[in-house]
């Protein structure tokens, strides 16, 4: 019991450390903010206010690139020496759990920003707003979990950002298809028979990714 509380405590401390670092530097935040706004603005210049299906597709593509950019930084900003220092202090499981939590937080904020800027620049075809916000949050969580694990692997391969795209894009394809399908109900009053199943599948995928990350990350760190 005591050990469990200390593990939790350590994880939370690491999350706090990442948050404080981010609040001081504000690098990731403003970097990604600029990224979102310029992307959405370019879409606006090209197609104005698209209709709902294209709006949906555009939004999820923006989400994808935002998550790649925001989360790739989470391991790249740690220098080799600092990683070694963490390794001597905490169990790798606490470390990856902290990264997962921090990235979920970061991605939740980024998702809201992406949603708001899409609404401003691309118009609002959404009927069921709260449903869509929920799906966006779920999508943000799923994408951040997946890319955290992949960023950890890519960090081992000489911090290669291109590698993250190669590894990540095939894996995130089914995820994104699933999310875009689930989100359809927010635009048109349509009955989708497989909807509960799709939610279950999404949750199953998240559990799978978290489980694999927890089991495999300690091996990744043995350097």
């Amino acid at each position: 019991m005591a050990q469990q509380t200390t593990a939790l405590h350590r994880t939370l401390t690491l999350v706090k450390k990442d948050l404080v670092l981010e609040l001081r530097q504000k690098y990731a935040f403003y970097g990604v903010l600029l990224y979102i706004i310029s992307t959405v603005f370019v879409i606006n210049m090209m197609m104005g206010h698209p209709e709902e299906q294209i709006w949906n597709a555009q939004f999820w593509v923006v989400q994808l690139f935002v998550s790649v950019n925001a989360i790739a930084k989470s391991f790249m900003q740690e220098s080799r020496g600092r990683l070694l220092y963490f390794y001597s202090l905490v169990h790798p499981r606490s470390f990856i759990a902290a990264k997962l939590l921090y990235n979920i937080l970061l991605m939740a904020i980024m998702s809201i920003i992406a949603l708001v800027s899409c609404l401003i620049f691309l118009g609002n075809p959404i009927i069921n707003v709260w449903y869509f916000v929920g799906v966006v949050m779920l999508g943000g969580v799923s994408l951040s979990l997946l890319f955290t694990m992949l960023a950890a692997i890519a960090a081992q391969a000489n911090q290669n950002a291109a590698l993250m795209a190669i590894m990540g894009f095939p894996i995130m394809m089914p995820l994104l298809m699933l999310l875009a399908n689930i989100a359809r109900s927010a635009f048109v009053p349509v009955f989708q028979p497989g909807l509960p199943n799709m939610f279950l599948l999404l949750a199953g995928m998240d559990v799978l990714i978290v489980g694999l990350a927890m089991i495999l990350f300690p091996f990744l760190w043995k350097d």
Partner: protein, 237 residues
């Protein structure tokens, strides 16, 4: 007479050694049978499939072979992570390589078949999309291996990604296609081949076919393992 004494390149034929390779002979025999019987046997007419039903002997066995090889690969990756034995890494990577080859062949045979039965080479069929994605994931595994130069690090990182890839392969190719409608025979409105196979001729060729193709896959895999071990023989000594 060529023997060990007269020539140092003489084949070393040993009855006991040959006895270990019986399954390779079996693979050749089964594949010969598949090729001959597969094109000659009388098959039942199933809806609009006509003669393209024969693809059953070539398309489906590729997937069974691919699954076998990917399973070998992931088992060896797990074993590598427990012992850090580089030989296991060679086994894992070779199996994944040959598995991708069989996956590509399965995809190609399926696409050619789809061109004539569904009317399009690439369709929206969930099975086709999901397997394409699964193959891309495994190709990413091969690219990941190329990008790391340190042998031990490559083995460790790629073993972890391999487990990840296998964990995605099962839902992608096994669970999702069963949850949604597919154009494939045997799902939704199109009838399966097995129920139409009243004479049992399809299954008579199908079982030898998938055994033969799987054995061929394992054979290519053992050859690749031997080649890779020779490449790295300085490390293993």
């Amino acid at each position: 007479m060529i023997s060990d004494k007269t020539c140092r390149f003489a084949p070393n034929i040993d009855d006991k050694k040959m006895a270990k390779h019986w399954w390779k002979a079996l693979a050749v025999l089964l594949l010969l049978f598949t090729l001959i019987a597969g094109f000659l046997v009388k098959i039942p007419a199933i809806e609009n499939n006509e003669q393209s039903t024969r693809n059953l002997f070539f398309h489906v066995p590729m997937w069974i072979s691919m699954y076998t090889l990917f399973t070998i690969s992931v088992v060896n990756s797990v074993l590598y992570l427990t012992k850090y034995d580089l030989k296991k890494d060679i086994l894992a990577s070779s199996a994944a390589n040959v598995g991708v080859l069989f996956g590509v062949m399965g995809f190609t045979t399926g696409s050619v078949w789809a061109t004539y039965t569904w009317g399009s080479t690439l369709t929206n069929d969930p099975k086709q999309i999901a397997t394409a994605v699964a193959l891309l994931i495994y190709m990413a595994y091969l690219v990941l291996r190329l990008s790391i130069h340190d042998i031990d690090k490559r083995a460790r990182v790629s073993a972890i990604y391999n487990i990840f890839a296998f964990a995605m392969l099962i839902p992608l190719t096994y669970i999702i296609p069963r949850m949604v409608d597919s154009l494939h025979p045997g799902s939704a409105s199109s009838p399966g081949f097995r129920s139409q196979d009243t004479d049992g001729t399809l299954m008579m060729v199908f079982y030898p076919a998938f055994t033969g193709w799987t054995l061929l896959g394992v054979w290519i895999y053992t050859l690749r393992v031997r080649y890779k071990r020779l490449e790295l023989k300085n490390i293993f000594k």
